[in-house]
């Protein structure tokens, strides 16, 4: 009988394990440091902005009055973008995972991923010179016939550079990430669950409703929240497309549109001095906090609705 010698309390540490463990731990720590760095910078530089005077706040009485329309615009544009992108992304993801023939599905998946590779400046240009002018007649029609709906009160903007156009551009920009995540989760639906539905005489759509969606629910929520986060932070495309006046309004097609925090910072930063810069950074901090809240909310929803961990 052979005896394996082992000293109590001191298992052998191999060099490779040690190096790799510390390397991964270091990478994890780095994320934390980077995040903390950003948060500290925003807080320190932002604090003077919170108490800025009207002269440095585009004539708004205090910081709250200054940042509130921007927060509103950010949330409105992101919410509309999500509203448009989510159903579309579900459709694209399902067609890739369950409907399209395999070869076509690969091509569609590739094309959608390609959308993510387009720089946001290009989306901005496209929004200004292509999408906006082509949507303008539609806005005109909405403004004439559906003006009793507050969203389409008008008068419609001829250039089409409204918050609705910006939101549509945003929707296209967040489509790839929502699609990619949903697609992965749809494809992971256990065969067994799908067959359970099919064997009961479910059509393909009923099978998806019975098996795929319940399984993917938490994943869809996180995909949507990631998309929402991206839409809120997106800067260039919105700054270019939106003809913003910085008001609070649900009128989606008029010439006076709310701006967003990110776009506002991008447009104003180069012309700002002194406390004006602090005010912009403070608004950035507000965006940072909102994005954080959205992410935490998503986590909470996901962990509550996760059937796999029950």
């Amino acid at each position: 009988m052979s005896v394996i010698e082992q000293k109590a309390g001191s298992p052998k540490r191999r060099l490779g394990d040690l190096v790799f463990a510390n390397l991964t731990f270091g990478s994890g720590l780095l994320i934390l440091v980077a995040l903390a760095g950003v948060a500290i910078f925003l807080t320190i530089q932002g604090i003077p902005g919170f108490s800025a005077k009207a002269a440095d706040l585009d004539g708004h009485a205090n910081f709250i009055a200054y940042v509130w329309p921007l927060v509103f615009g950010t949330l409105l544009a992101a919410a509309i973008a999500l509203l448009i992108a989510l159903p579309l992304a579900m459709g694209v993801a399902l067609s890739i995972s369950h409907y399209a023939p395999r070869r076509l599905a690969v091509v569609i998946g590739y094309l959608v991923d390609l959308l993510a590779a387009v720089p946001s400046v290009v989306y901005g240009l496209w929004g200004i010179s292509f999408l906006g002018p082509r949507l303008a007649p539609l806005y005109g029609w909405l403004g004439t016939h559906l003006s009793w709906i507050p969203l389409f009160k008008g008068p419609a903007l001829n250039s089409g550079r409204t918050i609705l156009t910006a939101a549509i551009v945003l929707a296209i920009m967040i489509l790839p990430i929502i699609t990619a995540i949903s697609r992965e989760i749809f494809m992971q639906t256990p065969r067994l669950n799908e067959e359970a539905a099919l064997a009961l005489g479910a059509t393909r759509w009923e099978m998806i409703r019975l098996s795929v969606f319940p399984y993917a629910k938490s994943g869809i929520v996180s995909a949507a929240m990631l998309g929402l986060g991206r839409a809120m932070g997106e800067t260039m495309a919105v700054a270019m497309v939106l003809s913003a006046t910085g008001i609070v309004s649900f009128n989606l097609i008029s010439a006076t549109n709310p701006s967003t925090i990110a776009a506002n910072i991008a447009l104003k930063f180069s012309d700002s001095t002194g406390v004006q810069v602090n005010a912009l950074i403070a608004s950035g901090l507000v965006l940072f906090v909102i994005t954080f809240i959205v992410n935490f909310a998503a986590r909470a929803i996901v962990s509550r609705g996760d059937v796999r961990n029950k």
Binding site: N193, E195, A196, A197, L198, L200, S211, V307
Partner: protein
């Protein structure tokens, strides 16, 4: 409501690959028919072709005829969705819908048929199906708990309850006990005995004692050789198969001697 199945000269393909070749058999109504044979011999594939579940795999197709009480399953105007509503299936591993309660799991098939069920009707279907699956006494006090909270054997009986809730003509079982412990297995076998009063049952099993215990007829499948399609070697009353089978290959397999 139980129906017999007549299969004649059935070939099953996955794209160009011939998986099962030339099966001809008659599966009697209100009786248990067992399929035995080594892994990969096509018995599960053949079972799935009886309710067109093999079509879930892209490229799968059949040649030949499957008649259920005179109606051909593979006629151009037959909808596979309708076929599966008539011919239920229970799988190797229990697969209740994970987000649904026990109650909703039993009703899932009926809800698919777009029937508007009154609460009282739904209650009675659930009770009848769960009693039919010998599960009622164990779960009647927790019908609204998730189906995934049950033990493996209970989950499998829940799946059987779900399958019989739609009152199918035929019940196909693909190794229903292979993931279960002996006690749960025995419970399912008892259940199969009771169910054959009302249903035509076809069961695939790797357990020869099980085939001997539960079935009236047994079909032995085997590969014609490595890389060749599976085929039906012999189908006979179970008693005969396990005592004096017609084919030497059957006897070799049953007694543990291969080849």
């Amino acid at each position: 409501m139980a129906k017999s199945i007549d299969v004649s000269d059935l070939n099953i393909y996955y794209s160009d690959f011939l998986a099962v070749e030339g099966v001809t058999m008659t599966i009697p109504a209100r009786s248990v028919t067992a399929f035995i044979g080594p892994s990969g011999c096509g018995k599960s594939t053949f079972l799935r072709s009886l309710n067109r579940m093999h079509e879930v795999i892209p490229g799968a197709r059949v040649e030949g005829k499957v008649m259920v009480d005179g109606q051909s399953l593979y006629d151009a105007n037959v909808d596979p969705v309708e076929v599966r509503r008539e011919i239920g299936m229970v799988f190797q591993r229990p697969n209740p819908f994970p987000t649904m309660s026990i109650y909703e799991n039993v009703l899932a098939g009926l809800r698919l048929n777009n029937k508007r069920l009154k609460k009282s009707e739904a209650d009675s279907v659930v009770e009848k199906s769960l009693k039919g699956a010998n599960l009622w006494n164990e779960v009647k006090d927790r019908l609204n708990k998730p189906g995934m909270g049950l033990s493996g054997g209970q989950q499998q009986r829940l799946c059987i309850a779900r399958a019989i809730a739609v009152e199918p003509q035929v019940l196909l079982m693909d190794e229903p006990c292979s993931a279960l412990d002996p006690i749960s297995t025995s419970a399912i076998e008892d259940l199969i005995h009771e169910l054959k009063e009302e249903y035509t049952i076809v069961i695939v099993t790797h357990n020869m004692q099980q085939a001997a215990r539960v079935s009236e007829d047994t079909a032995f499948f085997n590969l014609a050789g490595a890389g060749k399609p599976g085929r039906l070697v012999e189908m006979n009353p179970t008693k005969k198969i396990f005592s004096v089978p017609d084919e030497e290959a059957t006897e070799a397999y049953i007694s543990g001697r291969f080849g």
